[in-house]
């Protein structure tokens, strides 16, 4: 279980029914979208770093 998954979800997925497994796949697929947020934050941090370099 990763940090973004709830205990209840994990318990349901562990039942291994086709519905539960399909739900787990969909949840993991949705969770991958956080990569976009991470990239945006990383770009902002990089921009600030370069700005500080010029200002300092």
């Amino acid at each position: 279980m990763t940090g973004s998954e709830s205990e209840a979800d994990a318990r349901r997925w562990a039942t291994l029914t086709p519905e539960a497994l399909a739900d787990e796949i969909e949840a993991n697929r949705r969770a991958e979208r956080r990569l976009v947020t991470i990239a945006v934050v990383a770009l902002v941090v990089t921009g600030v770093l370069l700005l500080l370099r010029d200002l300092w």
């Binding site: 279980m1 990569l35 934050v41």
Partner: protein, 493 residues
Amino acid sequence: MSGWHDALVVLLVASVLLAVVPVLAGIGQYLLVPVHAFRNHLGSAAPYLPRVVVVVPAWNEAAVLAASIDRLMALEYPPDRLRVYVVDDASTDDTPAVVGAKAAQYPGRVVHLRRERGGQGKAHTLNHGIARALADDWMEALLIMDADVIYRPDSLRRMTRHLADPSVGAVTGFIREGSARPGVVSRFIGYEYVTAQAAARRAQNVLGAMACLAGGAQLHSRANLEALGGAVDTTTLAEDTYSTFLTQLDGRRVVFDGTAVVLAEEPDSVRALWKQRVRWARGNVQITSVFRHVWFRRSRAHRLGSVSFGLVWFSVYLLPVAMTLGTVGLVGLYFVSPATAHDTFQRLWWIALAAYGFVTTTTLLLDRDTARRSWFEGLLFPGAGALVVMLSAAHPALLTHTVPGWFGLELTPTGLRVLTLSLYSWSVIAMLLGFVVRSVEALPGGRWLSRLGLYVVGFGPVLCAITLDAYVRQWRGQAAVWDKTEKTGRVMG
């Protein structure tokens, strides 16, 4: 005379530019990570729980095997669809007794396969188990793992779901450093694994070409194993990479699932790390040579020959060369055109600073469990020395005037020359200091000094030093021995 001078300047600048290629390739790979949000294999995955045989190669693994087997038996996976074959490679410790006890505890689910004449290496051990698994029709998928890794309960089913797509031949998971009490080296490795797996392999999913199935987490479909000849390669030190390439060359996909987490205890000494990574790097030299007909040649069947994947592969493979070229270029420019050297140095480290900011932030956010343990090692991954060089590239007066001024000192022209040349050469100096970090560790009280050195020199440059050492050993034709990395069995969870 002027023509020769200009040509030399162009040559030296080109040398520096070549050094930038791996940095740009690294940034490029990281820019592909967010693309994985929309371009991943989860859309083609489906609930699928095939009958899986887990092959565990074991040579004197008594300290770690019991916990690994117990965790495999506790996997959230149908018990009647999971069998574990422990291939005991003529162990001389308590491995047979440990496996025997587990076979009795889990009858029919844990099988002890003993090789009476062992010592031929991991690949031969694996092949013993694979042959047994292929001997009947029960097995539908085969998982190759290391004896000391711990699978999270949900990890296996998160790998098998990708095999529901028949175009996929093999799946790998995310090996996370999971020592219960990680030391400095382990924490650096933990961070490195996020960059090399959680980030890089997502990018490779997007590219459609995978560099390597993690040795401790390789799931193959039966069809794939049979197409590979029913065995893994025994001629190189990188049987996992070999299988990865053969699978893709044969037109089947290799997929990475970052949510399938496997915990591993990694070395916590520079010398143990060195031994492990020299083996890996020598394996990569062999792979580069064996598959020389693949590089930069496009194919309809696979993407290994794409320019993008070639850049990714050779950026790692030739990193020590690139670092050396950068230094040669800058130092050469210093003597023939100091102003060009100064400008090039500033621009070079501007790119390095941008790469550092983007890569470090992405890595720390990508796996927060590792970030909590290894954030300091992440910040100092390129080394405190490299961070100082970045600062001085932005502010040349920092080291030449400001810092000496704090102590009422002024640099002499010779001191200034030495300092400038040291800054220009830092990437090579750091790589060479990597050898010192390893040597110091063996001295009395050297462990502490070696750890301090690791923070100053940086983990990245130490890895480059190891790669360089591996190339020299390979070039000298040193015997390719399968040295085992010692583990203690202290994996958390």
